[in-house]
């Protein structure tokens, strides 16, 4: 569990989800599932955040908002696509205003497909993200990572 040496903070943005995943994200931070035991704290400020949780799919109007939040986050950063909508568009894939999953605008590191997600799945994804974050941190130090690759 060496990757737990840091305390990454998360920021959550609801793309165009139905709210199901959003309240499960919050539930994961609550006493029963307690994501905070990994040192993970929910923040509202992109400049404080290391992990971006994106729920819901991308549409014309929120494209720039998502990109704005992502660009404001300091490197190294990890993006988790929460739920099937953020993965591929899910049940709303055929809607006229849905462009697709979160990877249409930002590079996604971890996908959590289900509808809606369970808090356990999110914890699993967050722990995976911690490993990726650590790797990115090392890469950044050695200069292997190209900043803002997308």
């Amino acid at each position: 569990m060496s990757m737990l040496s840091k305390s990454p903070w998360i920021i959550h943005y609801d793309g165009s989800s139905c709210n199901g995943c959003d309240i499960e994200v919050l539930a994961a931070l609550m006493p029963r599932y307690d994501l905070e035991r990994f040192g993970i704290l929910n923040t509202g400020n992109p400049k404080h955040a290391d992990i971006l949780l994106l729920t819901g799919s991308i549409n014309e109007q929120n494209k720039s908002v998502v990109l704005n939040i992502y660009n404001q986050m300091p490197n190294p950063k990890v993006v988790i696509a929460v739920g099937i909508c953020a993965t591929s568009g899910g049940v709303f894939r055929e809607c006229y205003n849905v462009l697709g999953g979160a990877d249409k605008v930002v590079p996604v590191d971890v996908y959590v497909p289900s509808c809606p997600i369970r808090p356990e799945a999110l914890i699993d994804a967050a722990v995976k993200a911690l490993g990726i974050l650590e790797k990115k941190r090392v890469d950044l130090k050695t200069g292997d990572m190209i900043l803002n690759s997308k």
């Binding site: 959550h12 943005y13 609801d14 793309g15 165009s16 989800s17 139905c18 709210n19 199901g20 995943c21 959003d22 309240i23 499960e24 919050l26 539930a27 609550m30 006493p31 029963r32 923040t43 509202g44 400020n45 992109p46 819901g56 799919s57 549409n59 109007q61 929120n62 908002v65 939040i69 049940v91 709303f92 055929e94 809607c95 006229y96 205003n97 849905v98 509808c115 809606p116 369970r118």
Partner: protein, 359 residues
């Protein structure tokens, strides 16, 4: 006149789990006008009826909103059942009522938590959500899902609950009722909480009616209106009287929701006592034809489903009018003249569900 400043609020804001954008026009600290811009969550799922057949669409209807998902699915089913002249079995009606009330309890507890968070009472936030998890356990045991139940179905419900399980639920929910009352008492009696809620965002009875407020927002202003009074599902059989408060401020809106928690437990108890054995669904044949408005009461207020069908597999038109959409106009009215620091509380006080409002 002092200088005016415009402060953007949202779409990404710590107090909001969902995106809504308000341009707040300020004179010093006072809000003189709030200009909303919505559409960040718009998916366009009403048009999806042309691509998904009418039975499939129940799943999409449930995903209009993840918090009141069951009631969305139920109202859609009610609309199609009326078009197809389907008589839903009595046991299914009772089960629908039980699940509706369970989702009301979990939604109100969720709201209480978020409100506590908005006025900075972190402990109360955690306590409300801890209690909500127990309700989600009951929902998971009976339907299989935590927030999206998937148990509404045209012609009835997908699953039955055994009598032993019903007794167990009743016993559990009675003990949670005591805890809910305890949490409720902190909201209603704590002086710091009162200080943040009392007299904040007063909506008069006349304004509430004129601006078309629905749900707890309307009932907190002294209007006795609740679609459950019309007796859809089993509400007609268990008897129902709406919870009404008259003060019209944020405190009254909080009180309505806390009293409704108590009421929902009583409704579930009556349902369990009155329920008889029987089928929970009937076979659906043929296609819907005609048009109908179905109405039901969500935790946030009245939801209206309009369905128009022409006797084929696909509905011609489907329209949803959700409570949050109706409550945005009253919200803008209460925001006028408030302090900037009260804006998060007032936005939460309508219990915003943006994914409902924008579909």
């Amino acid at each position: 006149m002092s200088k005016r400043t415009i402060v953007p609020f949202g779409p990404q804001h710590p107090v909001l789990p969902e995106p809504i954008h308000l341009d707040l026009v300020l004179e010093d600290e006072k809000v003189v006008e709030a200009i909303p811009s919505i559409g960040f969550v718009h998916r366009g799922l009403e048009k999806l009826v042309e691509k998904r057949d009418f039975i499939d669409f129940t799943y999409v209807a449930e995903r209009i909103c993840g918090i009141c998902s069951f009631i969305h699915g139920l109202t859609y089913c009610m609309a199609v059942e009326e078009l197809m002249k389907i008589e839903v079995p009595e046991r299914a009606q009772y089960l629908r009522t039980i699940w509706s009330e369970l989702s009301r309890i979990h939604s109100h507890l969720l709201w209480l938590g978020l409100t506590a968070d908005a006025f900075g009472f972190e402990n109360l936030f955690m306590q409300s959500w801890r209690l909500r998890e127990y309700i989600l356990d009951i929902i998971e045991e009976t339907t299989g899902g935590r927030v999206i139940f998937g148990s509404a179905k045209i012609g009835g419900v997908r699953r039955d609950i055994t009598p032993e399980k019903l007794d167990e639920i009743l016993k559990k929910i009675r003990s949670y009722q005591k805890e809910m009352l305890e949490i409720g008492s902190y909201f209603l009696e704590d002086s710091t909480v009162k200080h943040r809620l009392q007299g904040i965002g007063i909506l008069s009875k006349e304004d509430a009616q004129a601006l078309g407020a629905v749900g707890p927002m309307l009932r907190a202003s002294g209007v006795s209106m609740d679609i459950r009074m019309m007796g859809y599902a089993a509400y007609g059989k268990v008897g129902f009287a709406p919870v009404v408060e008259t003060a019209g401020d944020s405190y009254a809106r909080c009180k309505v929701r806390i009293r409704e928690l108590d009421q929902s437990v009583d409704i579930i108890e009556k349902c369990v006592q009155q329920m008889k054995e029987g089928p929970v669904e009937i076979k659906v044949t043929g296609f819907p034809n005609g048009e109908f408005f179905a109405r039901s009461e969500q935790p946030r207020g009245e939801v209206i489903y309009y369905a128009k069908a022409n006797g084929t597999k696909f509905l011609q038109r489907m329209r949803v009018r959700t409570p949050t959409f109706a409550n945005i106009t009253p919200l803008l009215s209460v925001l006028k003249g408030c302090q900037l620091a009260d804006v998060p509380i007032l936005v939460l006080t309508i219990d915003p569900c943006i994914s409902c409002a924008e579909r």
